[in-house]
């Protein structure tokens, strides 16, 4: 069986470099020149990444199901 994967993206035009995601999910986001970048675009499901996406004030982070592109976070 293929395990589920998530695809994590950050929209650099929306990100204001608050550093919230990099602090809430340190293994997953890093700030480069005041813009957040996901360390890995494809990840195993992980709660802290959902938390980061829900906490981003700009809704710049999207977590999708890698298989079908369904948005997992943030909630609409």
């Amino acid at each position: 069986m293929v395990s589920r994967r998530w695809r994590v993206t950050v929209d650099p035009r929306r990100c204001i470099g608050s550093g919230i995601c990099a602090g809430a999910a340190p293994g997953h986001f890093v700030l480069v020149d005041a813009v957040s970048i996901p360390l890995d675009e494809l990840i195993a499901p992980e709660d802290s990444v959902l938390d980061a996406a829900e906490s981003c004030p700009m809704e710049a982070i999207a977590v999708r199901d890698a298989a079908d592109g369904r948005v997992i976070a943030p909630e609409p």
Binding site: S18, G19, A22, G23, A24, D51, E54, S55, P57, E59
Partner: protein, 402 residues
């Protein structure tokens, strides 16, 4: 190269009593020559003070620095009482669990929905102020009721009760303006008041933010304790009272004392958003620095080895004037393009109300420029009364004419 701690002397901090919105020149000297320095605050153990932009961002953003570790320590601070719980005393993942519950109410998108209402409030307040004729106190007539009405409507707190909770919310930002007993009493009153509003929502559910918190609490998946809910709501109410309220008159003061920049802004109101960012960078709102972060392991910072267990405070105001990041940092430039200031902090505790405050500040500045083209101080500048004994700098009153 790593310095040993004997090389630096311990300085009393804050370096001086606040004078208007001037930043003590010692910040610039330290940033250049001793980016991490030992300081002793009026209360608590000695600390490191970070003044460089890069180091300030590390202290606030790097998980090796902790707020939760301040609990149980005699935290360096300028307030007599120590904040021992609440959102600002937590680290991820507990912090994230709590913050997530309210974060979505403060996203840029949700805040945008509130803008028309904020404009309407601003217009009504200015109608009333103009009808009363000059002079008027801008603090009382405009800068206070605008953010207070916005945060009350968002939370679902009756604006009519303002007379009760406005006094109490000062306790959250008081250093010496209130006695420790009075601070405790006011905070208890504020919690009791929020408790009443919550009890009411358990009888009659509402769809405001307080109602949403009550639902999150009562869905009973252990996400939120009763105390956490009350503290969080009280914190939002008080923060919504004491920050933007102070910053609006500060912005007006800076603009009135920089007439050339004010003229540029009047000529091109499209500059308002960048002007608000520049004013956020330029105004050293805090009297001191951030809340202390404790190193969880040895960390090399600013040429110094900060040992595990040592507290560091980060100066947002010094970081915002770092020439490594901002060209000609002591100059107010309302058209400054890149402006990654840390006026709202950085990292997981980055101000949850930042988007809301930005929107309110934009609405306030735009409305004042548009409606009061002749806005000016109604008293000579030296007669302005500044607050004292508070965490933030600001005007007690701001008599203006137009």
């Amino acid at each position: 190269m790593t310095e040993t701690r004997q090389d630096s002397t311990t300085r009393a901090y804050p370096f001086s009593a606040p004078d208007r919105l001037d930043l003590d020149p010692r910040y610039a000297q330290l940033r250049q020559h001793e980016p991490l320095t030992r300081v002793r605050l009026p209360f608590g153990e000695p600390a490191w003070l970070a003044t460089r932009y890069a180091d300030v961002r590390t202290v606030l953003g790097d998980p090796r620095f902790s707020r939760a570790a301040s609990v149980g320590r005699d935290e360096p601070r300028i307030t007599p009482l120590q904040m021992a719980s609440g959102i600002l005393s937590m680290d991820p993942p507990e912090h994230t669990r709590l913050r997530r519950l309210v974060a979505r109410a403060f996203t840029a998108r949700r805040v945008e929905d509130l803008r028309p209402r904020a404009r309407e409030i601003a217009d009504e307040l200015l109608d009333r102020m103009v009808a009363g004729g000059p002079p008027a106190d801008l603090v009382e007539a405009f800068a206070t009721p605008l953010p207070v009405t916005v945060i009350c409507e968002l939370l679902g707190v009756p604006v009519a009760d303002q007379g009760r909770f406005h006094v109490w919310s000062e306790a959250i930002v008081s250093t010496t303006s209130l006695s420790p007993d009075r601070i405790r009493e006011y905070i208890d009153n504020l919690y009791a008041y929020i408790g009443e509003l919550i009890a009411r929502r358990r009888r009659v559910p509402t769809d405001d933010l307080l109602g949403a918190l009550v639902r999150a609490r009562d869905s009973d998946d252990g996400r939120l304790t009763e105390t956490e809910m009350v503290q969080l709501a009280a914190g939002l109410l008080a923060a919504g009272h004491e920050t933007t309220v102070t910053q609006i008159p500060n912005f007006v003061y800076v603009l009135l004392t920089h007439p050339a920049e004010l003229a540029r802004l009047r000529a091109d109101p499209a500059l308002v958003p960048s002007a608000v960012e520049e004013l956020m960078r330029y105004v050293p709102l805090g009297v001191a620095s951030s809340f202390a972060r404790y190193a969880l392991e040895d960390v090399e910072l600013g040429g110094v080895l900060v040992r595990a267990g040592e507290p560091v405070i980060a100066s947002l105001s010094a970081a915002n004037r770092d020439p490594e990041v901002f060209d000609d940092p002591d100059r107010l430039d309302l058209t400054r393009a890149a402006n990654p200031h840390v006026g709202f902090g950085h990292g997981v505790h980055h101000c949850i109300g930042a988007q809301l405050a930005r929107m309110e500040l934009q609405v306030a500045v735009a409305a004042l420029l548009h409606r009061l083209p002749g806005l000016r101080l109604a008293v000579p500048e030296p007669e302005l009364e500044w607050k004292s004994g508070m965490l933030v700098r600001g005007l007690r009153k701001m008599p203006v004419a137009w």
